[in-house]
């Protein structure tokens, strides 16, 4: 009998492999991505260097580095919320919709006060953005709790509904009355009380970045020190044990969906009031979906998510550079990000299983 490769379940997931898997996945993705770029007729080394090196240390890095924080902030905010749910087996994959609604409610409140100037307007917008995202996430939450409806499908359907609502608002209620018929709202950048401006010139740090860091710290404390965090982890790993421990699954579902909705709404609000500047038809660019990759790549751990968000932001910026400098299609980066999740899931086998050479036997 010849030896065959056998999988042996580890009694405990390997901590080493759990930390190594994302790094390994990134490396494999670089190789596979390089092969893909080569197939597209690009110099693979040059393409990878443009994506991962140029934005950080290249000739124009001082313009790109602030963008890193601008793009990482919404990804972190959304992914932190998603990770709480994913840990408890609650799958909110409609963050893109909650992000849009948060932007709509946040911008809507700001624009309602135009042109009044007051220091209270921005905080009000923040609250409105969070509430908007929260309310949108409560739809799948309440339907799941009340009727047992699958939250994956409902939250995703609501993304398309939110996109239509965004179009309607950009062309209707929120359209700039002085915009000479162009779609899109007034620019929030020209409205000081509502503008989410850079806090320190040239750093890219705006209130969204601050909020993202606060979210990371809170999530860390929640998961490591708080009873709710323990319940979240317990529900994911041993749902039956969680019920014996007195965890109310319905309450947990609403809390997890509510937090992730509110965080996604916040991300949308900070984005529309700052980097994007206005409500428009093409406002959302898929952060809500990329954040799913970020959450997994960060091992559903707050600090890991922060690092993963920075890496993903890097691929966005590097991808744009590769597009202008090398003519690499934008879709190549999207595929690159998708590949990353694939390889991560594959490499993760080593976290839970041990590979052993064994003699073949009758199964």
């Amino acid at each position: 009998m010849h030896p065959v490769l056998k999988l042996e379940r580890r009694p405990q997931p390997s901590r080493t492999w759990s930390a190594l898997a994302p790094v390994l996945a990134v490396l494999i993705t670089m190789f596979a991505g390089g092969a893909m770029f080569a197939a597209l007729g690009q110099d693979p080394v040059e393409a990878i260097r443009t994506i991962f090196w140029e934005p950080l240390f290249g000739e124009f890095a001082r313009f790109d580095r602030p963008q890193l924080l601008v793009k990482a902030a919404p990804l972190t905010l959304i992914a932190i919320g998603l990770a709480l749910g994913f840990r408890a087996n609650i799958w909110n994959i409609g963050a893109e919709g909650q992000y849009i609604i948060g932007a709509l409610t946040g911008a809507g409140v700001g624009l309602a006060f135009y042109p009044t100037e007051s220091a209270l307007i921005f905080p009000l917008m923040v609250v409105a953005g969070a509430l908007g995202g929260w309310a949108w996430a409560m739809i799948p939450g309440l339907l799941k709790v009340r009727f047992g409806t699958n939250e994956i499908l409902v939250s995703l359907m609501l993304v398309y509904v939110a996109e239509q609502l965004l179009a309607k608002m950009a062309l209707g209620l929120l359209r700039n009355p002085e915009g000479r018929g162009f779609p899109g709202s007034r620019s929030l950048r020209d409205y000081p009380s509502a503008h989410n401006a850079e806090l320190f010139a040239g750093t890219g740090i705006h209130w969204g970045v601050v909020a993202a860091l606060i979210a990371v710290i809170f999530a860390y404390i929640l998961l490591a020190r708080h009873m709710l965090g323990f319940h979240i982890k317990l529900s994911g790993q041993a749902p039956r044990a969680a019920r014996f421990a007195g965890v109310n699954p319905a309450r947990l579902t609403l809390i997890c969906l509510g937090i992730s909705g509110a965080l996604a709404g916040l991300a949308g609000m900070f984005e529309v009031a700052g980097p994007a500047g206005q409500i428009n038809i093409d406002f959302n660019v898929g952060y809500g979906f990329t954040a799913i990759i970020v959450a997994f790549l960060g091992r559903l751990h707050p600090v890991g998510i922060l690092l993963a968000a920075l890496l993903m932001a890097l691929t966005y910026i590097g991808g744009e550079l590769a597009e202008t400098n090398l003519g690499l299609p934008a879709a190549a980066i999207q595929m690159f990000q998708g590949m990353l999740l694939f390889f991560l899931l594959a490499v993760d086998l080593l976290t839970h299983f041990r590979l052993r050479w064994r003699r073949a036997e009758v199964a």
Binding site: L143, V154, M157, V161, L165, K168, L171, Q334, G338
Partner: protein
């Protein structure tokens, strides 16, 4: 408002066309889920099928070869999902999401340069005599081959699951994979085949969108059809016959809202465009009461040593 512009015969005929893509995709996913696997990558496989079918049909000039290529494209993508979930034992929800995100990127990349091109036309069969029957003719007997293939597939899947040994084994694997394994059935092999079938069906559905329904290629053109197909399987309580019913319902709604848009009905276009998604949610809510029909091992990872 001028509702007389809507011709009921044409409406019903286009309902059949509109329902075919989600019917194909949902039928594939039904088989996958009956085998105990939850593949959330339907959207990704559909759009990959859409561009594979479109590109090959444009380059060969033959829609038939296009459809074959689409089935292969969808199946190859689903093979990635099978590798992840059946061999690397990864979480099925995460792997399915990965498949969708990857498929959307892949299709956008493959679709470079295919925007704004017209595909070769897919001829309708115009079944002699039958298609000349007034009203019923244009509704039922003047479609292209794929429509009839999809309907035949519904019957085939239904009969396979209900009457054949293969169907029984597939259901056993889906209901209780440990018991099926103990009886000597190859759980992983059965699931692998089911996943490939699901991928091929989703690919065909996607190609039907890009080659017949629209017919054009645009990035992200499936616009949630794959997710509606997933909802359809829940709606159908995992039964092939009800998938057909559900597909007609959703096809009817999307056709109706499209037909209402130019009539000047006092509902904004955006709200009409939302309706298929809102109806999907509504239907999910109504159907979710009955969870008993879901296959017992749905979404659970199987590892023989346990």
């Amino acid at each position: 408002m001028d509702l007389s512009a809507i011709d009921p015969t044409l409406l019903l005929a286009s309902l059949i066309v509109a329902s075919t893509p989600i019917l194909l995709a949902a039928l594939g996913e039904l088989v996958v889920e009956r085998a105990g696997v939850l593949n959330l990558g339907v959207e990704g496989m559909m759009i990959t099928g859409a561009i594979c079918g479109f590109a090959i049909a444009v380059n060969t000039g033959s829609p038939v070869i296009g459809f074959v290529a689409a089935a292969f494209g969808g199946a190859i993508l689903s093979l990635l999902f099978a590798l992840l979930t059946q061999f690397a034992l990864a979480n099925q929800v995460a792997s399915g999401l990965a498949l969708t995100l990857f498929g959307l990127g892949l299709s956008a990349l493959l679709g470079q340069g295919y925007q704004g091109i017209k595909p070769p036309p897919t001829r309708s069969l115009d079944i002699p005599v039958l298609s000349d029957i007034p009203v019923l003719g244009p509704i039922l007997f003047s479609h292209d081959l794929m429509v009839y293939l999809a309907l035949a597939l519904v019957a085939a899947v239904w009969a396979m699951l209900k009457y054949t040994r293969a169907g029984l084994i597939l259901r056993a694997v889906g209901e209780n994979h440990d018991a099926a394994h103990a009886l000597g059935y190859k759980v992983v092999r059965v699931r692998l085949l089911a996943i490939l079938f699901g991928g091929a069906c989703a690919g065909l559905g996607g190609a039907y969108l890009s080659l017949v329904r629209v017919p054009q290629w645009t990035e992200g053109m499936t616009a949630g059809s794959g997710w509606i197909a997933l909802a359809l399987v829940v709606f159908a309580s995992w039964k092939a016959g009800r998938v057909l019913l559900g597909a007609w319902l959703f096809g009817g709604i999307s056709v109706l809202q499209l037909n209402l848009q130019p009539t000047g009905i006092p509902i904004p276009v955006e709200y009409l465009s939302m309706s298929p998604y809102l109806i999907t949610i509504l239907v999910l809510v109504i159907m979710s009461g009955d969870k008993s029909r879901a296959p017992g091992s749905l979404g659970r990872t199987f590892h023989a040593s346990q």
